[in-house]
Amino acid sequence: MSGWRDVDVAIIGAGVVGCALARELARFDCSVVVLEQATDICEGTSKANTAILHTGFDCVAGSLESRLVHRGYELLRDYAAAANVAIEATGAVLVAWDEDQAASLPALAEKARANGYPESVLVGAHEVYELEPHLGEGVLAGLRVPGESIIDPWSVVSAFATEAVRAGVELCLGTRVESLEREGECHVVCTTSGRVRARWVLNAAGLSSSKVDGFCDHHDFTIQPRRGELIVFDKLSRALVNSIILPVPTKRTKGVLISPTVFGNVLLGPTADDVDDPGATGTTREGLERLLDAGARMMPELLDEEVTATYAGLRAASEHQDYQVRRHEGENYVCIGAIRSTGLTSSMALAEYVMELMRSAGFDAASLPAPPVPVMAPLGEGQRRRYLDNELIAVNPAYGEVVCHCERVSAGEIVDALKGDVAATSISGLRRRTRAMNGRCQGFYCAARVVAMMIEATGRVASDLTGLPR
């Protein structure tokens, strides 16, 4: 993209919300661009979360978040199945470790019902231990939430983006929005790589959503980045955990949980610390220690296992208890802001809701036949991975050639990810699309080869990929 562009819709941000919007709009007869400041999709809040498909049982009843999480859960569950995105209905058990927490469980069950989720069940300590025999001592009671599921968060965003791009949406990466100007019915979006005149502007800028809202002179909310640090344990710990183990939530955070991942690891986290810098995605000694302390109480055996990775993500929290989704009267601009940790679950419902807002404000593009749902590479341990797929290996032997040994990623999958419609352009992008280098050795065995493959497939220069000066 360069110079001037005229489009029907400009979406700011290519996280899970922006890509869900792009996918939704690709089903209408209109021109759409997605403007993303990072050089890849899924680079902000969407890349570092707890990877859970929430039922919304603990949302604020009656909130927009509650409604959209509830609806989004069903939409994303079905979409993930269609797009071959790994998802496992592990269920969750919310565990009370003291009398106060135990006393609050019936109210949580009631809240779940108010959120349209009547399936939660109060259980005694004995049953909690039957469900999760490796929990530490001191469980008093629990609340089973059978619908909570785990999902591959990265492939969801990739699938949305791939579907949108294949249907003609233009994805402009490395394009930061610097200002927004009204021009009659339209907005002119000034970016680092040119100007876009758009009939509609959708602000899905995540951590920057309040800043972009400010470009339109709206000050309805302020993003207060909330950092969540997480520890990923080795796959050999997966057998310790059957379901998502939740603490009793507080007003501010869902608390530190232990959750299996679809990749076969176990997550411990997140912390919840307000930070000022929207780039503060580093982990801290204090944060990691807090997690290990919590983990030692919840599941002592977990700490005997090796740590595979640690990371921190920033949730786009605000001073409000609910999402900030709003179209101001007379403006063809919708802000989709303050989408907190539930945004992955609600993403498709958010897109649906934004379409309703646009429709009621006169957006009248004709519907097109729905584009085919892309079929993503099977990355989940519950799926048939490429290295085991004899039919595919017979067609393309590179699927049998394992390059990343810890995660069993084949050469064929790496090449696919570098050449897809929304191809990996960075080492971290390749990790998210294939799992290569995400395993216990963190590249001891494969990183050199993977990077060499990347250079060969893309013609990129090694120093570019590794952040060195040319």
């Binding site: 990923v232 801290t284 595979t308």
Partner: protein, 406 residues
């Protein structure tokens, strides 16, 4: 598709190749080594410095030359080598593999696990901060430099000061990278005498003792590393674009754990006797999977003993399970190997690791609450194994025992 062999060896490094060729020498006819990399040879493939082959081949070779020699010799002895082939699971009857030819079952009368060891990467060491590019382990750095010829950076900090850490300086130098310093939380480096002096004078890289990495800073690329002296509390930072996490070895034990054999809490490898016998009569183990880590030539020599045992037991398999006792540890001993002793079979060797430097102390063998053996031990160095006369455990009866320092 399935193949039937006498012995399948998982891993084509020094231990696996050495065991395989010894099996052939002992008259075992069908021996297959399964190697997941395209080229067999294991870690020495990317250790481009001399120091290999002394004790097993009686020659002084570089790592790659040693790896090639081992592969050539194994092939010459009639070992079948399946490279670029990954073992996806194993059991007492053989292994399941995948490769460009698809999945395959290899049935075997015995399995030898020789999957080696790797260095703990940054996250496993709990080092916080940003996650920029420029963070390596030595193994990764060596492959990066010697196998792929990729650019590394300009200034590096090496975390760790054991043997392999000094090898990292060589690799960095070859890659045109200046090593700013080595840092270790211990009181001094743990390599051979003089290594620190050589690093300081020739490599211009001082060893900072009692020092830990507090934080790594950098957005796209490492920009600096914050360090802390654990004794004085002084905190400072080094401006570097590269950090190499060296040493701190852990067995690559996934297959071993998943096939259900008993693991040792000290080494984190399979519990085994000195002949590589594990808790499953058909599954043996060899090399640094058992004892992280010994040098390649030592590993290769000891793997011959495992092969001799496998060859003998293929002919005369012991009936039923053999009674055995475990050799446990008490801190600061961090592991002892062998850690499983078959009753009536005195081990041929005994190696011991401690987690910290210790001065001359008494090593005790404690069984059923009694000290059954004692021996003076000279000072120990962490990250280096030391020999203990295997007669030390002669007093072991039919009860398990613990080794401790007093």
């Amino acid at each position: 598709m399935s193949t039937d062999v006498d012995v399948v060896v998982v891993g084509g490094g020094p231990a696996g190749l050495s065991a395989a060729m010894r099996l052939r020498e002992r008259g075992v006819s069908r021996v297959v080594v399964v190697e997941r990399e395209k080229v067999a040879g294991g870690v020495p493939r990317h250790c481009v410095h001399p120091g290999f082959g002394m004790r097993d081949l009686h020659r002084l070779l570089s790592g790659p030359h040693y790896a090639e020699t081992m592969v050539r010799r194994a092939l010459a002895r009639g070992v079948s080598l399946l490279s670029a082939t990954t073992v996806t699971s194993c059991d007492e009857g053989g292994v399941n593999v995948t490769s460009a030819r698809g999945t395959q079952r290899i049935d075997a009368r015995a399995v030898i696990l020789a999957t080696g060891a790797r260095e703990r990467p940054r996250p496993a060491r709990g080092v916080p901060g940003d996650r920029p590019a420029g963070v390596f382990t030595t193994g990764q750095l060596q492959q990066w430099t010697y196998l792929e010829g990729l650019p590394v950076g300009a200034r590096a900090l090496v975390v760790g000061a054991e043997h392999v850490s000094f090898s990292a300086i060589l690799t960095l130098r070859h890659a045109g990278v200046a090593t700013v310093a080595l840092v270790t939380e211990h009181q001094r480096h743990q390599s051979v005498t003089g290594a620190g002096l050589v690093a300081r004078t020739w490599g211009h890289a001082p060893v900072h003792s009692f020092t830990r990495v507090v934080e790594i800073i950098g957005r796209r690329r490492v920009e600096k590393v914050v360090l802390e002296n654990l004794m004085t509390g002084r905190v400072w930072s080094e401006t570097v674009d590269t950090v190499v996490f060296s040493g701190d070895w852990i067995p690559d034990h996934e297959l071993a754990r998943r096939c259900g054999i008993v693991m040792d809490p000290g080494t984190l490898g399979p519990a085994s006797d000195a002949l590589g016998r594990t808790s499953n009569a058909n599954i043996y183990a060899a090399g640094n999977l058992l004892h992280p880590v010994e040098s390649a030539d030592v590993v290769s020599l000891w793997a011959r003993d495992v092969a001799d045992t496998v060859a003998a037991e293929l002919l005369h398999r012991a009936e039923g399970t053999r009674p055995w006792v475990t050799l446990g540890i008490e801190k600061p001993v961090s592991w002892v190997w062998p850690n499983r002793i078959i009753v009536g079979h005195a081990p041929t060797r005994l190696r011991l690791h401690t987690e910290s430097f210790t001065s001359a102390r008494t090593l005790q063998l404690v069984s059923s609450g009694h000290v059954v053996a004692e021996q003076r031990l000279r000072r120990t160095t962490p990250n280096r194994s030391m020999n203990v006369a295997s007669s030390f455990v002669d007093a072991l009866g039919e009860a398990s025992a613990t080794i401790r320092l007093r």
